[in-house]
């Protein structure tokens, strides 16, 4: 986990040092007790005298450690984001034009809406590749029901309902049949959901939405596209859910060690169903935005979205084996890929070429944690831990 201990802040000055009264028990022999890759509080002299057990002190707060903080994955993403922008603005004079950027975001942001629910699913080690199909089905049903006379607000509610049902079906199948891989189950429903959409609408389009509906996709709020404002609000909500609630913590537990989580009383089935249901709801929200921008819906809408969404999540530092990653990383990664697409599009790079570039970026990003682990293992193989090897170990943590 990347969670470095939070800075206790300047209000707790006493915590940095264990208190000068009993320095003895505080030094548990820095070298032999534990491979202390993080003992930032002990600038201790090597007087490794064994302290009596009963008096042992354990700290419950730790000073801010800049080394750990700045070695986080997210900083690399920030650098990458800046690099992308720097290169792009050199390549094209129109790049740093506010209205151009906002237009690009307007086009791109419906994918961004999907990244946090997808992140939660990947956190527990699963994946959902049926999102784009869920978008198509809920969008098509919204269009068809509106065309059949259902008032638009109700049609939108119907879309949300359809999304929730699609997601819940995924979740229920996975909860019921634990041995099935999420990849296979959602691959099947990916075909089914879009298939149903095609059965309903064949290759026609449904549209004729009321005028106000187009404002959802094209309108602005506080000078920003509505969809971007929604994305910011969504980010805030998911930071809260993923990093500050018991529910979020249980996702990390399931992703790290599902067996231990079960023994700790976490109900993985309930979590799974809820995650996929949330994913479905957000897929239908994205479908509403997309339909509003396009002015119509068709069964082929949003094709290939799942790949971009998963790419953003993985680039953001969420391990596909589960249990690792932070919202902020995914947030930045979404903008990296977004700006990359926008910039390359401006200088008329064909979109298949852009896809190739994004693929390369993803492979590089995915291999960096492995490189770090390799370095850490090398460092451990060195018999006597020297200060320099300690740095490498904490790099691996960061």
């Amino acid at each position: 986990m990347n969670d470095a201990p939070k800075n206790p802040g300047p209000k707790n000055p006493g915590l940095k040092n264990p208190g000068p009264k009993n320095p003895g028990p505080m030094k548990p022999g820095p070298t032999n007790q534990a491979p202390n890759n993080q003992a930032p509080t002990s600038p201790a002299p090597n007087g490794g005298s064994q302290a009596p057990l009963a008096q042992r002190q354990i700290l419950d707060a730790v000073a801010f450690d800049p080394k750990r903080f700045f070695l986080r994955w997210e900083w690399l993403l920030v650098v990458l984001l800046l690099a992308v922008n720097l290169i792009n603005s050199n390549l094209s004079p129109n790049y740093l034009v506010w209205s151009n950027i906002m237009d690009a975001i307007r086009i791109y942001a419906d994918k961004m809406i999907l990244i946090f629910p997808m992140m939660m699913i990947i956190l527990i080690g699963d994946i959902d590749i049926s999102v784009a199909s869920t978008m198509a089905l809920s969008g098509v049903l919204m269009g068809v029901s509106h065309a059949a006379g259902l008032p638009m607000p109700l049609a939108m509610v119907l879309a949300l309902l359809v999304g929730a049902i699609c997601g819940t079906i995924n979740g229920l199948i996975l909860a019921k049949y634990q041995e099935l891989a999420a990849m296979i189950v959602t691959l099947s429903t990916m075909i089914i959901y879009r298939g149903v959409a095609s059965v309903i609408l064949e290759d026609r389009a449904a549209g004729a939405f009321p005028d106000w509906f187009s404002h959802i996709g094209w309108g602005s709020l506080f000078g920003l596209p509505v969809i971007l404002v929604f994305f910011f609000l969504e980010t805030a909500v998911f930071i809260w859910v993923i990093h500050y609630t018991a529910y979020g913590r249980s996702l990390y537990a399931l992703g790290n060690n599902a067996e231990a989580a079960r023994y700790s009383g976490i109900d993985s089935k309930r979590v799974k169903v809820s995650l996929f249901a949330i994913m479905g709801v957000f897929a239908s929200i994205a479908a509403i935005f997309l339909a509003s921008k396009m002015g119509s819906v068709r069964p082929s809408m949003a094709k290939g979205y799942e790949l971009d969404v998963i790419a953003m999540v993985v680039l953001g530092g969420v391990s596909t084996s589960g249990g690792q990653g932070r919202v902020i990383g995914v947030f930045i990664a979404a903008f990296i890929i977004g700006f990359l697409r926008y910039g390359l599009g401006l200088i008329n790079v064909p979109s298949p070429t852009i896809l190739v570039l994004i693929g390369c970026l993803l492979i590089v990003a995915a291999s960096i944690p492995n490189l770090k682990n390799l370095l850490a293992r090398r460092a451990k193989a060195v018999p006597q831990p020297s200060p320099s090897t300690k740095v490498t170990t904490s790099q691996a943590d960061g």
């Binding site: 986990m1 969670d3 201990p5 939070k6 548990p28 007790q33 534990a34 491979p35 202390n36 890759n37 993080q38 003992a39 509080t41 002990s42 057990l53 009963a54 042992r56 002190q57 354990i58 700290l59 419950d60 707060a61 730790v62 809260w240 500050y244 609630t245 018991a246 913590r249 249980s250 990390y252 537990a253 790290n256 060690n257 067996e259 231990a260 989580a261 079960r262 023994y263 700790s264 009383g265 976490i266 109900d267 249990g323």
Partner: protein, 497 residues
């Protein structure tokens, strides 16, 4: 007589925190069946793994036909014609009998470089016929009975003309008729000059089959005897041995009224009609060999698995937890046998592990109060004298004993009445063991009912108030710890008493 087939001299192997083998000797002659006996954790499996190249010894020598050898991996051992048949068969259920026999050394046609299926099936049939078996080599192994699979494993071992065949508890899941067949096969192999190392808990296996027997205890070599020259009581004494110096706490627990009552609990294939009761403040030991169903019983009580039949009463009220969550809510907590796989999230900080099973308690409306989590972890950690610099340290950086203390903190964080401790001292060094005994004793003194499962008899006798013996899923004895000896207990768990 020339050099022995295999000779092990002064072999030592240490795992983090435990000395698994300490200066062990062993000598295996041509055409000999040599039994190795010892309690759980005596070091038999480690010893076998060194012979088969799975582990490397820290020090000591291994001589094969008088030549010093060093195995770096299992392939080296295979090349040296050493084959092993493991307790849990390592077969591939979806592949055919022939494929399983020849896995890794398939019969390949010289001309095409492709697998010569006809020749392979023919040879498989021949090998099986040598073992008086008429299994169809085309059948998938998954469709065979356990005994038939065992025969396939033997065929696999002899397909490479092994000079040494190691059998690790081969009879554990066989009926007596199937055992007899395995005995005959083993004798046939011996008569052809193959040497066999035979590991078993069953005395009948050893007396029926082995020429010599070597006993290990606590990772140490105790002795080697001619089977005909040693009696069963003497052998048991050798296996149990003198008590090694270990400190058990002065008992301070007060036994109160009945807390937990189990009536006729059964789970097909695991345990049958189990009855027992646990009182408040009591430490109830559970003794049994591997495969006795102890762990499965405990998992059913803690909601991990579900029993088929029977009832459990907690403070007179019927409970039937369907999940760990419900069991915890009722007040039954389990310290699982596999600390690293089931008890902890190793890559997590200590405090997050401690609070994981009771996260709701740390929610301030909806937001987790990490400060409170850390303060609790600190408080509980000090209560069990956890040795760690901070509660933000990762559990993976702690020693085995301290990791176990984190699991104890986790249990203490819940409001429990019954604590089920499954092998709490497994993989923990001696010093930390005494501390864990002290923790257990303290908990009982505070009024918890404690179920203490252990394979280590001295500690079971030293810590428990009362001990249940289990053998193949059935309770075969109930003793007061103050009145029972290790010998008596061993007889009960082997169902010889």
């Amino acid at each position: 007589m020339d050099a022995p087939v295999l000779e092990m001299m002064n072999v030592t192997k240490t795992f983090p925190g435990v000395k698994a083998l300490d200066n062990v000797q062993f000598r295996l002659d041509h055409g000999q069946i040599h039994a190795i006996m010892g309690e759980n954790g005596a070091g038999k499996s480690t010893f076998i793994k060194i012979i088969t190249g799975v582990h490397a010894a820290d020090s000591g020598q291994m001589l094969l036909n008088g030549q010093v050898v060093h195995f770096k991996n299992p392939n080296d051992a295979q090349k040296a014609s050493i084959a092993a048949i493991y307790q849990h068969s390592t077969s591939y259920p979806h592949l055919s009998v022939a494929e399983n026999i020849f896995i890794g050394h398939e019969q390949v046609s010289k001309f095409t470089g492709m697998i010569d299926w006809k020749a392979m099936y023919r040879r498989a049939e021949k090998l099986l016929a040598e073992l008086d078996s008429h299994l169809n080599p085309r059948r998938p192994v998954g469709s065979l009975t356990v005994a038939e699979r065992q025969i396939v494993e033997v065929a696999k071992a002899i397909s490479t003309d092994s000079q040494i065949v190691i059998m690790d508890e081969p009879t554990a899941s066989l009926s007596s008729r199937e055992c007899e067949k395995l005995y005959q096969i083993s004798e046939k192999l011996r008569d052809k000059g193959t040497s066999i190392i035979f590991i078993s808990h069953r005395f009948e296996d050893m007396y029926r089959l082995a020429d010599k027997v070597t006993v290990f205890r606590d990772g140490k070599y105790i002795g080697t005897w001619e089977v005909a020259a040693i009696s069963e009581p003497d052998l048991i004494k050798a296996m149990v041995g003198r008590e090694i110096e270990r400190v058990y706490p002065q008992k301070s627990n007060q036994i109160g009224q009945e807390l937990l009552r189990v009536e006729g609990l059964s789970k097909l294939g695991f345990f049958k009609k189990v009855n027992f009761s646990l009182r408040k403040g009591e430490i109830l030991g559970f003794s049994g060999l591997v495969g006795s169903g102890r762990t499965d019983l405990m998992q059913c009580l803690a909601g991990v698995a579900r029993a088929d039949q029977g009832q459990v009463f907690l403070e007179g009220r019927k409970v039937s937890p369907k999940s760990c969550r419900q069991a915890l809510k009722e007040g039954i907590g389990l310290l699982p046998e596999d600390r690293q796989g089931q008890g902890l999230i190793l890559e997590w900080e200590i405090y997050k592990n401690v609070t994981l099973s009771e996260l709701k308690k740390y929610q301030n409306k909806t937001v987790l109060n990490e400060k409170k989590e850390r303060a609790t972890a600190k408080k509980l950690g000090q209560r069990v004298s956890l040795k760690a610099p901070t509660v933000m340290d990762k559990v993976s950086s702690l020693s085995g004993g301290n990791q176990q203390k984190v699991v104890f903190c986790k249990l203490l964080n819940s409001e429990l009445k019954v604590l089920i401790l499954d092998e709490p001292t497994k993989g923990v060094d001696v010093g930390a063991k005494s501390q864990i005994y002290e923790i257990i004793n303290d908990l009982a003194a505070q009024g918890y009912g404690v179920i203490f499962v252990s394979s280590d008899m001295p500690e079971l006798l030293g810590v428990s108030d009362r001990i249940m013996a289990m053998h193949e899923g059935v309770i075969t004895g109930e003793f007061l710890a103050s009145e029972v000896t290790q010998e008596k207990l061993l007889l009960a768990i082997m169902n010889l008493g």
